[in-house]
Subunit: 310 residues, 2 copies
Amino acid sequence: MGFDLGGTNIRTAVARVDGDNATLLGRDARPTPQAGPEAVVAALVSSADAAIVAAKVRISDIAAAGCSAPGPLDHMTGVILTTQNIAGFANASFPLAARLAAGLGGPRVYLDRDTVMAAIGEGLAGAARGARSFVYLTVSTGVGGAIVADGRMVRGVSNTAGELGHFPVGFDRDVRCRCGSFGCVEAYAAGRNLAEAYGVGDASIVYAKAAAGDARAAELIARAEAALASLAVGIVNALNPERIVVGGSVAEHEPTHVLDPMRRAIAERAFKVPAAACSVVPSALGADVSIIGAALAARDRATGAGGWFL
Amino acid sequence: MGFDLGGTNIRTAVARVDGDNATLLGRDARPTPQAGPEAVVAALVSSADAAIVAAKVRISDIAAAGCSAPGPLDHMTGVILTTQNIAGFANASFPLAARLAAGLGGPRVYLDRDTVMAAIGEGLAGAARGARSFVYLTVSTGVGGAIVADGRMVRGVSNTAGELGHFPVGFDRDVRCRCGSFGCVEAYAAGRNLAEAYGVGDASIVYAKAAAGDARAAELIARAEAALASLAVGIVNALNPERIVVGGSVAEHEPTHVLDPMRRAIAERAFKVPAAACSVVPSALGADVSIIGAALAARDRATGAGGWFL
């Protein structure tokens, strides 16, 4: 079973895992409660029940469950640390995996960061299959990532590595980022930031306006493209990956404004040897990437095969 | 024995390696020939002879030799690929390790990139001792680096990973970099680039002018500091290292303009959890870092203990 716990929605699926192929048998989606950790656990359990019914299986058929969540978190102990991205978790240090396992009353639950789960999914069953060095990047409401180097997930000393959306690529102090810094890739290129900078509710409007000839929209999008281009060049030079897999809603809907500028910049500006070795490809698992990653991660951690990402 | 082959100088030392402590017994330094690979091999051999005499040992006492060189190169086969940084190697694919071993007539020679050798040196015997995740950064004529993540050297798919000096941190197209791109950390903060931007032969003059109140020098240095600050924040957010070890002549002579801005930016702008986990420290091995790293790398590769960096 895979859970994708986001700030807005909970998405849950029962998967049949055969080798590294995950077939989703039944699923559920519902809003994330805004009333704190206990309500979130209850909603996850209800969502699991619904997905189990939809899949026509029983809880005893679930071998293990993976839960994707925003960081920071401790994937070894299954504890969500203080996070701004789910209401009520800002001052929490909450043992989500243990509490969810108790609620489910059966399978063990393995927690990990959303972008790490996505990288596991793309690495085992998606667009990074076969690559020993790759970066997963999501360009969506925010910009996030995960790094796999020479066959191993880069975790860092406090398990927060991979926040490539918060690499500063510009010096503009007025381009503020939610993280408290300025000039981050996310501050220029995330959907939420684009929409806010233009003064609308959704980035799709900004792209539509630019396509219709609006100069201010076009300028904001050019700036977003420049930020993603710089990030792509920096990733290639610093990490020399074989692939950069780009997911997230903005990347999915606007590939010519996300993947194409990254590709052009790598070809024109990155070092020749690593540039020639790297391809920029769209996510193969789309919106299900974190659910599939969570299901595969759960299978691998339960069977002891997850050493490369732990 | 450790060799440090640079574009300007060859530096060689005989080291007694005891555990991870390397004591330099005798050394030699001489200009790098500008006449191509054969002349460079001959000079390395002569330099080795001189260092052996100075150390009062014999060639048969040398257990193994390591050679630090600019990249790109293949550290497994010991071949220098086309490099701009040593005269005559621009179109070469030259088996330096094998040719140097033949010239020495005894010890096996292990080749690796200068910044990787430096990271091995700092990791085993210097300022990164005990850290499983760290970044080595050199701020000198150029800006380069090497990344150790969770106990392993990050190599990438074509062995070029670590070029953190070529992460773009600004959008100014007129800040050209020798690599062919623009806006790289190196283009703002390297000694050579600072000197050229001001119109003098050495960066130390720019720092002296700024200290004497010259506005243009101060502005260039502020820009260099901003680039290093962005790089530091990006490294902390993306890689979550325990330590950033900063070496190179500019860092050594101007720590208040190199390490201090990095520290301030991490404290003010990076994510709190990885920021609290990371310290920025000066190189402990100074100008000998690549020689000591090369000697330790040679010992470890000869004895099979070098798995973490291969």
